[in-house]
């Protein structure tokens, strides 16, 4: 038996902001010589799609800072108060917020979700898609990136039972 540490993650959300934690943790854990499995279930399944289309939804997300990624520092630091009435009714608002968040991340030297996911795949993170959720949402395996395995709760729990770290994201 090796003393390799193991980490088991459940990724259950598919928005841009929540796409980061599982891929950041998984890529870093592998860099720290750990063995990692991520179980993608419910909305997290969309993070396995060949073309990642994760967006961010400021609506009903009151703690999300709405800031501009460009301009002088004083302008960038302004917190724009966007009432739910606007964020939920203005067409394309989520696209705008998504673009702003991506720009801000880029300007701060943060990797894209695609980059982090690629690193996870290359470095041998085991990606498991939840078969049940796929059936419910009508996803097929060929919509996902290569190397994804399918399984259910028992698949995750079998790995998680031996893992040193288990997190639900």
């Amino acid at each position: 038996m090796s003393d390799t540490k193991k980490m088991a993650l459940i990724a259950s959300r598919g928005t841009l902001d929540w796409a980061y934690p599982p891929f950041i943790l998984a890529s870093t854990a592998v860099a720290m010589d750990m063995e990692v499995q991520i179980f993608f279930t419910f909305y997290g399944l969309t993070l396995l799609k060949k073309k990642l289309d994760a967006k961010v939804a400021p609506h009903s997300n009151p703690s999300m800072p709405m800031k501009m990624p460009f301009g002088p520092k004083s302008f960038k630091n302004i917190e724009w108060p966007i009432p739910n009435l606007i964020s939920s009714n203005l067409p394309g608002f989520n696209d705008v917020a998504t673009t702003l968040m991506k720009k801000t991340f880029k300007s701060k030297g943060v990797a894209t979700v695609e980059q982090l996911r690629d690193i996870c795949v290359e470095s041998g993170v085991k990606l498991v898609g939840c078969q049940m959720t796929m059936d419910v949402f009508g996803f097929t395996k060929d919509e996902f990136i290569d190397g994804v395995e399918l399984g259910g709760a028992a698949t995750f729990l079998e790995f998680a039972a031996e893992a040193d770290i288990q997190l639900f994201v």
């Binding site: 540490k5 950041i24 890529s27 870093t28 860099a31 720290m32 010589d33 701060k108 030297g109 943060v110 990797a111 982090l116 690193i119």
Partner: protein, 78 residues
């Protein structure tokens, strides 16, 4: 510790978590045991992160220095 000769230099300036760690890992894999990697970052979190990373992976953090907004690390490969 600036008298330590680095076999390789890695520029992680402007990069944020977790990229400095991921790039350091990749770089150290190309080196031989005993070689020294010099890594320069601007992420203030990299001090704790590099300490944790070296502790976990067994590579040796020979030194870390701050100069201005930059953090300079010397790591000896396990």
């Amino acid at each position: 510790m600036s008298d330590v000769q680095a076999n390789m230099e890695l520029d992680c300036r402007g990069l944020n978590c977790p990229l400095p760690i991921l790039k350091t890992k990749k770089a150290i894999e190309t080196l031989n045991t005993g070689d020294v990697l010099k890594m320069v970052a601007t992420d203030p979190g990299s001090i704790n992160d590099m300490t944790a990373w070296t502790k976990r992976t067994g590579n040796e953090l020979l030194s870390h220095e701050e100069s201005g907004d930059e953090y300079v690390f010397f790591i000896r490969k396990k």
